[in-house]
């Protein structure tokens, strides 16, 4: 019976996040792949029982993603108001 | 074991009735934002007391009464300020 250790899955998540973030072209897809990379990193940290590091990085990663989202929306609105988008 | 939970629920309910909280929310009950006794005051009281019940030191009757009073006061005065109701069309 085949057994899969969990860190292999976390490594695959991190590779998917990194290569997917390189290959995508739109900014929103890059940030979604950044979320996948953060998932892999947090699960790898928590699988080796550094729970305080996992808790702090789960706060900081996702709050950072929300702040990047607000900045992205503001940037696109300013570009549209100047007429540079099309 | 279960008596302290019942005491916390009764304490929260009595102080909620004194503070004039409604018993049930408005009639399309699954999407009303009204704060009432059965939701979320009782849920808050049971959840807060479960944290204290895990540490075996503070699981007595007086803690249950204080938790009930605290949850009723919290849901009456502070819940709208801590977690405000969203505007129309606002995100998280």
């Amino acid at each position: 019976m085949v057994m899969i250790e969990f860190p292999y899955a976390a490594v695959i998540l991190m590779i998917v996040g990194a290569i997917g973030g390189l290959l995508q072209t739109r900014p929103i897809d890059k940030i979604l792949m950044l979320a996948v990379l953060g998932d892999g990193l947090i699960s790898m940290i928590a699988a080796y029982q550094y729970l305080d590091v996992a808790m702090a990085s789960s706060f900081m990663t996702f709050v950072g993603i929300i702040i990047i989202m607000i900045g992205l929306i503001r940037t696109l609105e300013i570009k549209k108001a100047r007429g540079e988008l099309f | 074991m279960f008596e302290e939970y019942i005491i916390a629920i009764v304490s929260a309910t009595v102080l909620g009735l004194i503070l004039r909280l409604p018993i049930l929310p408005d009639k399309p009950m699954r999407n009303s934002w009204m704060i009432s006794i059965i939701f979320p005051t009782v849920i808050l009281a049971v959840g807060f007391f479960a944290i204290f019940n895990y540490f075996k030191v503070y699981n007595n009757i007086y803690t249950a009464i204080i938790i009930g009073i605290f949850s009723a006061v919290f849901s009456k005065f502070f819940l709208e300020r801590v977690f405000p109701k969203p505007e129309i069309g606002e995100q998280a």
């Binding site: - | 009950m29 699954r30 999407n31 009303s32 934002w33 939701f39 979320p40 849920i43 808050l44 049971v46 959840g47 807060f48 479960a50 944290i51 019940n53 895990y54 977690f83 969203p86 069309g89 606002e90 995100q91 998280a92």
Partner: protein
């Protein structure tokens, strides 16, 4: 081989729990936030049902009864007693209020899952079977093929009188 049967029973129980409570609390009726509406329209464009699409979008955008079931079984497994489920209900309520949702579905799901796990320990199904079972249940709704699962959810919602409200 006994564990596989236990995981299967846990998956079936948690699937029934979260689907029934989510439909009963009106998730297929209307999208709560704008992102859920976009996900529902996207699933409908790919050949699915609109009510099932709103269901999937609401599960993605706020912790509903699926998150309540998962976190209640996690709390029961870690604390070793039903207190973990009650604490999970408290956390799910706070998370629901952060995500702009009234929070009825999450807390009801967490409390009913706590009762269900407490009853299931007497027939030999442990909480870790429920954790893996909830993951399998979420996989069948969100991960396999979206048009089929959304059509199934739409059929169940029409049977339980929770149709899409059009305005």
């Amino acid at each position: 081989m006994n564990e596989i049967i236990a995981i299967t029973i846990g998956a079936i129980l948690s699937w029934i729990n979260f689907v029934i409570i989510d439909i009963w609390m009106g998730l297929p009726e209307s999208p709560g936030v704008r992102g859920a509406e976009a996900i529902g329209k996207s699933i409908e464009n790919r050949g699915g049902d609109l009510g099932g699409g709103y269901f999937s979008g609401n599960i993605v955008c706020s912790p509903d009864a699926s998150a309540g079931t998962l976190l209640a079984s996690c709390g029961y497994y870690a604390f070793g007693s039903p207190e973990g489920g009650l604490i999970a209900a408290l956390f799910v309520y706070f998370g629901n209020r952060i995500c702009a949702d009234p929070g009825y579905a999450g807390t009801t799901g967490a409390l009913s899952a706590t009762i269900l796990i407490w009853a299931a320990t007497y027939i030999g199904i442990n909480p870790q079977n429920f954790i893996v079972g909830m993951l399998l249940a979420a996989l069948t709704i969100q991960g396999i093929y979206h048009p089929y699962s959304s059509k199934l959810i739409g059929k169940m919602a029409r049977k339980m009188n929770r149709k899409v409200i059009k305005d």
